[in-house]
């Protein structure tokens, strides 16, 4: 067991640190709308121009194909340099749709989409959840019938982040009307400008509109936009499970180690005080989350579900850190400053992408081997 970085890795660290110091924007991102898109795409375009985009993507698809050592170096330098949050409107394309296309897409799909994604020229949203299919995703009912070489889609999706500013959507629909549950689903590329699509932004509890409902009324999607085989969409949707450990989510996890340093500096808590105790404990937990992040990169996982352990630990630690920030702010917590905004946004962490309860079921059943309900 070793954690050694080569001299070449250290040169890479220096290059990353230098580039970030000279290029990280001096302003924070707008929270929503076209302004948020412009900020995120400008930043990604700048990263791409200088060879810092798609760092986990294979070089064949315009990425850097970085080793795990350099991925962790990059994200640690990234968060220490205060670079823009990785969880912006480019996240789904770079970390979910793009990797899915790389794993399952046709040559034509890859040639068209991947260069646009990695350079910030196209934004993607996700179309998985439905009003009646949240945790029970496999019960989804948005469906399509085949008309010649086109799928005709009707139904509704919800909680689709950045749907109002996205160019494309990774859309999971039922393409075999006789099918049930996981069978008969397809993963398709949906052009968000296609006729019949209506997007209704939804304001979240932080007062921001970055997610939306999407309605499909006879939306025509070419069959050539199906990724993987028709009716094999569940498998396609699951291919990115193993890739998750190499996504920008590690940037979010590592950022908590920086956030707790901010709180320690801001609080200036008296040694032995209750606040100092909480700060010390959260600092230790952030350090351990960093160790878990390193472990996901440098150790063979026992199961593909191991990511649930670190995912859930991150979500709950993030909420605890933001909660302490509110306590430290005192009366200023009532002002809609960045820490208050971040605190409110963090309530989504134990809901989005699989609730904490579902993650615990996965850990208990798939990792610990306890019986299904």
């Amino acid at each position: 067991m070793q954690l050694d970085f080569s001299p070449e890795d250290e040169e890479f660290r220096t290059a990353a640190r230098t580039w970030l110091a000279g290029n990280v924007p001096q302003q924070t991102s707008p929270h929503e709308g076209q302004a948020a898109r412009d900020y995120a795409t400008d930043w990604l375009a700048r990263c791409h121009r200088d060879g810092w985009a798609g760092i986990a993507w294979p070089a064949d698809y315009g990425g850097r194909g970085l080793s795990p050592e350099r991925l962790v170096i990059w994200y640690e330098e990234y968060v220490r340099a205060r670079a823009p949050s990785v969880l912006d409107c480019t996240f789904v394309a770079l970390n979910h749709a793009g990797p899915t296309l790389i794993a399952c897409g046709t040559d034509e799909q890859k040639a068209f989409h991947l260069p646009r994604i990695v350079s910030g020229r196209s934004i993607w949203c996700q179309g998985f959840s439905e009003p009646n299919s949240g945790s029970d995703l496999a019960s989804l009912s948005t469906s399509a019938v085949i008309d010649g070489d086109v799928l005709v889609v009707n139904g509704q999706k919800i909680w689709s982040s950045y749907a109002d500013i996205a160019d494309f959507q990774e859309l999971l629909i039922r393409t075999d009307s006789t099918s049930k549950r996981h069978k008969g689903l397809s993963w398709v590329i949906c052009d968000m400008k296609a006729p019949g699509i209506t997007v209704r932004p939804i304001e979240n509890m932080a007062g921001v509109c970055h997610f939306a409902e999407v309605f499909y009324d006879d939306v025509r999607i070419p069959l050539s936009n199906v990724v993987g085989d028709l009716n094999d969409g569940w498998r396609v949707a699951m291919t990115t499970l193993g890739f998750e450990r190499k996504t920008a989510a590690m940037g979010l996890q590592l950022d908590l180690s920086v956030r707790i340093e901010d709180l320690i500096a801001r609080a200036d808590a008296a040694p032995g005080s209750a606040t100092a105790e909480r700060l010390g404990l959260l600092r230790a937990q952030a350090a351990a989350l960093r160790a878990m992040t390193w472990r996901t990169l440098f150790r063979e996982p026992a199961t593909v579900f191991d990511g649930s352990l670190v995912r859930l630990r991150f979500a709950e630690l993030a909420q605890h850190i933001h909660r302490l920030a509110m306590d430290i702010l005192g009366p200023d917590a009532l002002l809609m400053s960045q820490p208050t905004h971040d605190y409110l946004e963090a309530y989504s962490e134990t809901i989005a992408g699989g609730t904490a309860e579902i993650q615990r079921n996965i850990i208990a059943e798939r990792i610990l081997g306890l019986p299904r309900e």
Partner: protein, 323 residues
């Protein structure tokens, strides 16, 4: 040079050998009071000198293997003697009391801060853990103040008084204090893992309402929480052990984080293990309570540096935008 957190073949071999020895002779249901006589088996295994260099009679392994071995000790509720002995051996070596190195390895025991001697019967030396120093004392030069029944007859507790001339050696070496904190934390991780496994196993076989209780989310989620706690602690143990072995700048920080979390995770997992066992968990006949008590013993020794006094390896380069 690269990063790799998989266990090497050598590491797997020594851990497998230790597991065989411990499974054979140190079942967690055993009579713990008789452990003093069995300690020789662990000493013979080389456990107390594993990471000493070969010239000092050690096996030439490193702190990483030693820490992983102590996880197994935690899983088997081995006496705190197993921590005192390797620390005392290092203290004796550091103090150039070479003639004592062997004795310390063979007979050292342990003392909580002050004069509360834990599991000290028949021992020649005791190790005193204070927050900022370690001391080796000669038990023959102490006076017994009180013999206590101890924690539910779990380990013998003796209160002793001693003065300067009982002190054989003293060290305020941060490295040595960090090693003690690492080994204590490793044993607490062992408790966190063993209680997780015991609870999961019981939840899979105990049936109520016509199905295994592990099928109910209320139980399942307790088990998931135990798994998360153990995974978090285990990852941090790797990080701290490697940092300390390699003399990295952040070693003391990593150990401090580990040592702060270790008792919390161990005690919480032990609590949940008792809860999941229901009435059996509350009985002295089941093993669950033993882990809880051992965690309470371990938490009193091997303190790390206060974490807020240290520098984080993830310090930001400039203030956050927007406050």
């Amino acid at each position: 040079m690269t990063c790799n957190l998989n266990r090497s073949e050598d590491q797997r071999q020594i851990l497998d050998a230790a597991a065989s020895m411990l499974d054979a002779d140190f079942d967690v249901s055993r009579d713990l009071a008789a452990d003093r006589d069995r300690m020789a088996k662990i000493a013979e295994f080389g456990a107390f000198s594993l990471a000493l260099d070969e010239q000092s009679g050690g096996a030439g392994f490193t702190l990483v293997e030693e820490a992983l071995l102590h996880v197994q000790f935690g899983r088997h509720i081995i006496s705190t003697h197993s921590i005192a002995a390797p620390i005392a051996a290092r203290l004796a070596a550091e103090s150039e009391l070479i003639d004592l190195v062997g004795d310390a390895v063979a007979g050292g025991v342990l003392c909580g801060g002050g004069g509360r001697l834990i599991d000290g019967a028949n021992a020649r030396f005791a190790l005193v853990f204070a927050p900022d120093r370690l001391q080796l004392i000669d038990i023959a030069k102490t006076t017994v103040v009180a013999n206590n029944p101890g924690f539910g007859h779990f380990v013998p507790i003796t209160d002793v008084a001693f003065d300067e001339d009982a002190i054989v050696a003293t060290s305020d070496s941060r490295h040595l204090l960090d090693i003690a904190a690492l080994l204590v934390s490793a044993q607490l991780l062992g408790i966190a893992e063993a209680t997780r496994d015991l609870a999961v196993s019981y939840a899979g076989v105990r049936r109520q309402f016509g199905k295994p209780i592990g099928a109910f989310q209320a139980i399942k989620h307790h088990c998931a929480n135990m798994a998360i706690g153990a995974e978090m602690l285990s990852a941090q143990l790797d990080m701290a052990a490697i940092a300390l072995r390699d003399g990295r700048d952040d070693a003391t920080f990593q150990v401090a984080a580990l040592r702060l979390l270790a008792p919390q995770v161990a005690l919480e997992n032990a609590r949940l293990c008792i809860q999941i066992h229901g009435g059996m968990g509350f009985s002295a006949e089941a093993d669950a309570h033993r882990f809880l008590k051992q965690a309470h013993v371990l938490r009193l020794i091997g303190d790390a540096a206060p974490i807020l006094d240290l520098e984080s390896p993830m310090a930001p380069y400039k203030p956050r935008l927007g406050g």
